[in-house]
Every structure is written in structure tokens, then in C-alpha cells.
């Protein structure tokens, strides 16, 4: 069978399973006795194995199979959950996710798994015990019969009917499993009454089963008759029929029945939330169309101001309301919870704290805070960096913490919440805080400042130093952080997203990084200006003020033009020069747009202000990616293109 068309689905689903496995493994480490979690892990691993086998990825199948063996032993309590064992399992998860990566790139799963398999096998020394346990659990599964069914079966038996448990195995290569299952059900219906099926009929219809399902059938026919009827259906691999002797077995299992069913029900609930998978490209396309609509609406508004017909005006107002709502709705579709980024951290904290022999609890708040996909894709790396910083530099070792009179276990809080049109993400720890003396010494050592200068610096200025390229206060360079390529990269990234970062720190109390990001990067408020005879847009959030200046207010500092603004000397940027335009310096007064980049300000001279407008950012494309001062382009109401100035790259 050509499996290529399923590859994408396979990859997507495996990623989901790996993610949920990771999550559940972390849960298991905290509650090693919780059988529900083990069941959930087991189920995910099993599904993963089934999918990998169907797609013909042997390494993946083997690895998940071995994992299943180990999990089975945990499930049967023959081995205990130790952190070493968890390490091995987590390594397997890493291997699995690398494998999906390799598969998506090259289409095969060539990945060295021998080491892992060996590790798993050493943990799994009692394989035989495990095997028998599988059998036990199977018979238990197949007899998940509730009281109501038991009643029916008893009645049926008294009238000479027999009850069978039929396990149907469908060929792995079968494309339409649910259709096959439907034929099986039809056939069985003719032979008797189906009282129960595992998984449920709904799930079977939705193809939510691996390659086999079990039904309970009440029938007068003999085993062989049923079997031969079923085997005549094509693509059925195997049929196992067992007669259920109700009296003994059912009573034995009655106590398991309801509890097991209960947990199954819960899981089904969580899986059947109504959603559709949509290709991101389609969403982008929809977004583009909405953007076009907004552009044309703006254009209509322009026409409207010339016309005085009340009918037109009210129609356009209505149109405006609809487009705004439509825009909001589409934006919401594109929103994803920050969970997508956050859920990698529990694992990271666990691994790093083990590596560094620190005790750390991670608390996450507001995982369901929603942010535009474009933002989500970008904030992962900066956050990883801040988290690593907190774990490595922030939180002290348990001994040091005890000496300081703090609890042994350090706490890292990761918070996300909305504030106006922004989303705020906070990373805080209760560690040692930023050591200003160290920062001062480093600044001096690196020759950034003289000894006198260093002494005079305020704490705020010192914090700023941390964001300078090549600055690291860590005494030792570790694998985790401290190479000095850190915070400046974080800052640049966040600023390139039109966001800002702030630090609050207190010695021995901890450090808090506060990141402020716009909800979306696709549509922004902008100020349109004229420079020469060209239109340009400034993102509104990079503008602090617009002022009028006179020619004689320009001063020269070391050959560079500066102006005074609220008592501060700030550089004057003549946009004409930067944009290669001829300047018209004949007028005495000119307009300055004061732009900000972090705490730095600069004045940009422009010829004319056009006004504030909501604009849709469109990329200039790869071909022009070298043009740094232009952040993108937008299409104005009249169809003309205006370029968006990237004020971060102006100075």
C-alpha cells in the first residue's frame, strides 16, 4: 500500500502522542502509584506502536514495543518507578521525537535505538512475568461486563442462547477499517444480538481503534458457524471466539467491571471535543482575504467622507462592524494557547535540575492564554533561554538554599496573561537574584567601563548591561547557559516582535523577567507619513510622541545632529537621507516623530503626517530580505503600496 498520503497524518498524530506521553510520564514520576496514568501512557505507547507498524517504521515499532514491555511491568507492579527508569523512558521519548523529525525529513526512521533497547531490557529483567501478566489483563479486559449486560446474558443463557466474546483482527493494511467493522457488525446482527463492543461502536465508526475490536454476541449458533461467516469477509485477518460462561467469570470480574468502565468513559469524554484540523496555509489564506476586506473597507470609508448620502453612510458603518467582527473571529481561529510553548518546560526543568542536582518546582499559570500563532512560533527560544538562566544561575543548590534559610526546593513561576492588546509572560524564580557586584566586576573586566564609571552606575543601568552582547555573569560556562550569547539575543528577538522585556531583581529573593508582546503581528496600528513624495508607515507602538521642531533647535554633537527632547539630547535621524531621497531643507520648521527602542529615543524628521490607520503587514519576500530598515509593506486603500519602517533598525 502506498502509505505516503498518510504520512502527514501519522506525523501529526505521533507528535500528539509523544507530547501526551511526555506529559503523562512527568505525572507518573510525581504519582508513581496512579494506575490511571500508567494506563494512559500504555495506551498512547500502544497506539504509537500500532501506527508505526502500519506505516512500516520498524525501529519505531521496536522501540515502542520494548517501552510497552517495561510499562507493562510497571502496570503489573513487578517493577517500581525509579528516577533511573524514568530517565530511560524520557530518553526513549526524545528518540521517538527525533525519529518523527527524521521521518518527516527523509521518510525513513533510521535512528540508532540499540542503546535504548539495551537500557530498556536491563530494566525489564522479568520478561516472563510480564508476558503472563499481559494474558491476565487481556482476559480481564474482554470481560468488562456491566451489571446490565450480565442480566441480559443470564436471561439469554436460561433460554438456551450462548454468549461469545469475539475478537476481530482487521488486516493492518486495510484502508477503511470502519467500513470493514460495519460489515462485521452487520453479519453478526444476522447471527444474533450484539450486547457490547470494545471500543464503543461510536469509536469504531470514527476509526478510533487500532486493528482489533471485541464484541459480545448472544447467539444460538455454534462457534464455528460464526467464525466461518466472519472469515468470509475480506481483509479480516483473524477471529478469536470464546464462549463466555457467565456465572463464574462474570462474578469474578464484577468488581473490576464498573471501575474500568468509569475510567474509560472519562477518557472518551476528553477525546471527543469537537474540532477540525485545518491546514495552517488555509488559515493564512483566510486571513489574507480578511485583510483584503479591511483594505477595501478603508477605501470605502474614504469615498464615504466625500458623500453625504445617509443611506451609504449607514451601510458602510454596518460593513465596518461586520468586517471588525470577522477580523476578530479569524484572529481567534489563529490564536493558540501558550501551552504549546509552555508544555516543553516541565520536562526541561526536570532534566536540568537532575543534571545540576538542584531541587526545583515549576509552577505554570495561564497556559490557556491565547496568542497569535505568529507570536507563538517566535517566543519559544527566548523563553527557553530565560528558563535555563533561572535554573542555572537563579536557583541555588539545596545546601546553599538551606544556609540562606530558604526552603530546599526552589520555585520557578511561569505566568502568562493578557493585558490590553498585549500578552505578558513572566518568568520568575526565588533564587539568588542578580548579583550587582558581579555585574560591575564583569563590566570592568571586559573593559566596557572604567572602574569609576562602574561604581557610579545605578542598578537599572547595570541591568541594562546584562542585555549587552557578550555579557555573562556566570563564573563557569556550563552546558546550560553562560556563554554570553544570551540575554542580548533574547532582547533582540523580543524587540523584533515589537515587544519589550523588563527585569526585576532582589538579592536572595529572586529575579523576575517580564516579557510584553503584541497579541498579533499581522495587523497593527500605524502612523502614515509622507517623506518626499513617498508614503511610509511607522508602527504606532514604536512612536512615543510627535513634535514640531525648528531648524535652529538642531545642535551638533561630534558632527552628528541632535535635538533636545524633554530635557534629553537625542539623535536626529533625517529620513530623507536614510531613504535615499532628496531633502527639501528650505522650510524652517519640520515635524519630528519621536521613536523609541527600549529606553532609547530618536527623532525622525518627516515632511507630512497623513494619519493613524490599521494596516495589514505583508512581508517583502525572501528576495528582499536584506533590506533591514523596511519591516514589510502594506497595501493602502487606493491599492498603493506603503513600506513599513523598522524603527528598531534605524538607530
Amino acid at each position: 500500500m502506498d502509505t505516503n498520503q498518510y504520512l502527514e497524518i501519522f506525523l501529526e498524530e505521533s507528535e500528539e502522542h509523544i507530547e501526551s506521553l511526555n506529559e503523562n510520564l512527568l505525572q507518573l514520576e510525581k504519582n508513581p502509584e496512579d494506575s490511571h496514568i500508567i494506563d494512559e501512557i500504555f495506551r498512547s505507547a500502544h497506539t504509537l506502536k500500532g501506527m508505526a507498524a502500519t506505516m512500516g517504521f520498524e525501529n519505531m515499532t521496536r522501540l515502542t514495543h520494548k517501552m510497552e514491555d517495561v510499562l507493562q511491568e510497571i502496570r503489573s507492579n513487578s517493577i517500581k518507578v525509579t528516577s533511573n527508569l524514568m530517565d530511560v523512558l524520557f530518553k526513549c521519548m526524545d528518540a521517538l521525537s527525533s525519529m518523527t523529525g527524521i521521518i518527516s525529513e527523509s521518510g525513513n526512521d533510521s535512528y540508532d535505538i540499540e542503546n535504548l533497547i539495551e537500557l530498556l531490557e536491563t530494566n525489564n529483567s522479568k520478561e516472563e512475568v510480564a508476558a503472563t501478566n499481559i494474558k491476565n489483563s487481556k482476559s480481564l479486559d474482554s470481560n468488562n461486563i456491566n451489571v446490565y449486560e450480565k442480566d441480559i446474558i443470564e436471561k439469554a443463557a436460561s433460554q438456551g442462547y450462548k454468549t461469545y466474546s469475539i475478537e476481530v483482527v482487521i488486516d493492518k493494511n486495510c484502508v477503511m477499517k470502519s467500513a470493514r467493522a460495519f460489515i462485521v457488525f452487520n453479519t453478526l446482527d444476522n447471527l444474533g444480538d450484539i450486547v457490547d463492543s470494545t471500543p464503543s461502536v461510536e469509536d469504531i465508526e470514527d476509526e478510533k481503534f487500532d486493528d482489533r475490536f471485541t464484541v459480545h454476541l448472544i447467539s444460538k449458533h455454534e462457534k464455528d458457524v460464526i467464525k466461518s461467516k466472519l472469515m468470509s469477509i475480506s481483509e479480516i485477518k483473524n477471529i478469536n471466539i470464546e464462549e463466555l460462561l457467565y456465572s463464574k467469570e462474570i462474578k469474578d470480574n464484577k468488581k473490576f467491571g464498573p471501575t474500568n468502565l468509569g475510567s474509560d468513559d472519562q477518557i472518551k469524554h476528553s477525546k471527543t471535543n469537537k474540532s477540525v484540523r485545518v491546514d495552517i496555509e488555509r488559515l493564512d489564506n483566510l486571513m489574507n482575504l480578511v485583510s483584503e476586506l479591511i483594505i477595501i473597507k478603508t477605501r470605502l470609508e474614504g469615498i464615504e467622507s466625500n458623500e453625504k448620502n445617509p443611506d451609504t453612510i449607514s451601510t458602510i458603518e454596518y460593513l465596518e462592524r461586520i468586517t471588525t467582527n470577522l477580523h476578530d473571529a479569524v484572529m481567534k481561529v489563529r490564536m493558540v494557547p501558550v501551552e504549546r510553548v509552555f508544555n516543553r518546560f516541565p520536562r526541561m526543568v526536570r532534566d536540568l535540575s537532575r543534571e545540576l542536582n538542584k531541587k526545583i518546582t515549576l509552577n505554570m499559570y495561564g497556559q490557556d492564554t491565547e496568542v497569535d500563532r505568529t507570536v507563538i512560533d517566535e517566543i519559544g527560544d527566548p523563553l527557553v533561554h530565560l528558563m535555563r538562566n533561572s535554573i542555572d544561575h537563579g536557583i541555588e543548590t539545596p545546601e546553599v538554599r538551606v544556609k540562606k534559610g530558604k526552603p530546599e526546593t526552589g520555585v520557578i513561576n511561569l505566568k502568562a496573561y493578557h493585558e490590553g492588546n498585549n500578552v505578558i509572560i513572566e518568568v520568575s524564580d526565588d533564587g539568588s537574584g542578580i548579583n550587582f557586584e558581579k555585574v560591575k566586576n564583569k563590566a570592568y573586566e571586559k573593559g566596557m567601563l572604567s572602574a569609576d564609571e562602574v561604581e557610579e552606575l545605578s542598578n537599572e543601568k547595570l541591568i541594562k548591561l546584562l542585555f549587552e552582547p557578550g555579557f555573562s555573569t556566570s563564573d563557569t560556562i556550563s552546558d546550560i547557559s553562560g556563554r554570553g550569547v544570551g540575554l542580548d539575543v533574547v532582547k533582540n528577538k523580543i524587540e523584533s516582535l515589537n515587544g519589550s522585556i523588563e527585569v526585576k531583581t532582589e538579592v536572595d529573593k529572586g529575579t523576575k523577567f517580564i516579557i510584553k508582546l503584541p497579541l498579533t503581528l499581522a495587523i497593527i496600528q500605524a502612523l502614515l507619513v509622507m517623506v518626499g513624495n513617498e508614503k511610509y508607515a511607522f508602527p504606532l507602538n514604536s512612536i512615543s510622541e510627535i513634535v514640531n521642531k525648528n531648524k535652529n533647535e538642531i545642535h551638533l554633537v561630534q558632527g552628528k545632529e541632535v535635538v533636545m527632547y524633554r530635557g534629553k539630547v537625542i539623535p536626529l535621524i533625517r529620513l530623507h537621507n536614510i531613504l535615499d531621497l532628496k531633502s527639501n531643507e528650505d522650510s524652517d520648521n519640520f515635524i519630528c516623530v519621536i521613536i523609541k527602542k527600549g529606553d532609547n529615543l530618536a527623532a525622525c524628521s518627516v515632511d507630512e503626517l497623513i494619519g493613524q490607520q490599521e494596516i495589514v503587514i505583508k512581508p517583502l519576500g525572501k528576495y528582499l530580505s536584506n533590506v533591514k530598515i523596511i519591516a514589510g509593506a502594506t497595501i493602502l486603500g487606493d491599492g498603493q503600496v506603503a513600506l513599513i519602517i523598522d524603527s528598531n533598525n534605524l538607530f
Binding site: L579, L581, K618, L624
Partner: protein, 144 residues
């Protein structure tokens, strides 16, 4: 057999593989992009998409001419890069048999080293210079 869109610059004829051509447009308003290389004339709004346009004449170091009614922008799509190239006209599609396509002799002093021409096609006694699209769509001498 391959098909090519024939474009003209003065008396020279150039061919572009037809599957790389997304559309052929009349000249619309071009917005200048500051700090871009000189042969990049700017960007245009093509039905909501922003597309960089380059002057083929400048790129090939020919003298520039005024745009007229025949001037066209050929939109080329190569992988994920979309650009428009300005040509004097584009109104013919030809089929050339593979036997009649020669690769150029790089050592010959006929061709410049920094050439965007990949192959030469022959139709009767017409000679068609065929673009190396990969070269054309990657920025060459971009310095800021």
C-alpha cells in the same frame, strides 16, 4: 520538448521555462524600496501580494528604456521566491525540442562570467537565450 515564454529586450530574445512563470502583468505603479540593490525597481501590489520587481535591463547591464504599452512584468515563481521581471515585451510561447537546446560554453568569451543565461535554444534560425531561473531568483550583488 519544453515550452518557454519568449521575452524581448531590444532585439535580443530570452526564454523562461513556462512552469516557472506564474503570470504576465502590465506595468502597474511600482513602489521604490530604499536601500535595495539598484536593479530592484521596487515592489508592486499584485492582487494583495507584495512582489519585488527587478529591471532585467539593469541586471543584464543593458541601457534602460522608457516603459511603453508593450512593457510587461513577468511574474516568476521559483520554490518559495516570487519576483517580477520587467521586459520590453512578452507575447509568445514556443516549444523547443531538447535536441535543440545547447548548454553554453562557459569558457567562450561570448558570455559574461556573471551571466544569468543557462542554455541556448534554437528554433530555425532564431536564437533564444534561456534563463537560469535559480540564478535569477537568488540575489546576486546585494550589498547594503
Amino acid at each position: 520538448m519544453s515550452m518557454f515564454v519568449v521575452t524581448r529586450l531590444g532585439s535580443e530574445e530570452y526564454g523562461i521555462e513556462i512552469d516557472k512563470v506564474q503570470s504576465i502583468e502590465k506595468v502597474t505603479k511600482i513602489t521604490r524600496v530604499p536601500k535595495a540593490p539598484s536593479f530592484v525597481k521596487g515592489v508592486i501590489n499584485l492582487r494583495g501580494e507584495i512582489i519585488p520587481v527587478i529591471s532585467l535591463r539593469m541586471l543584464l547591464k543593458l541601457c534602460e528604456v522608457e516603459f511603453d504599452d508593450d512593457t510587461r512584468i513577468v511574474i516568476i515563481k521559483n520554490n518559495d521566491i516570487v519576483i517580477g521581471i520587467i521586459v520590453d515585451n512578452a507575447n509568445e510561447v514556443v516549444e523547443i525540442h531538447d535536441d535543440n537546446i545547447d548548454s553554453i560554453d562557459v569558457n567562450s568569451n561570448l558570455y559574461k562570467k556573471e551571466s544569468f543565461i543557462g542554455k541556448i535554444g534554437k528554433i530555425g534560425n532564431r536564437i533564444l537565450m534561456l534563463f537560469d531561473i535559480d540564478k535569477l531568483t537568488t540575489q546576486q550583488e546585494v550589498k547594503l
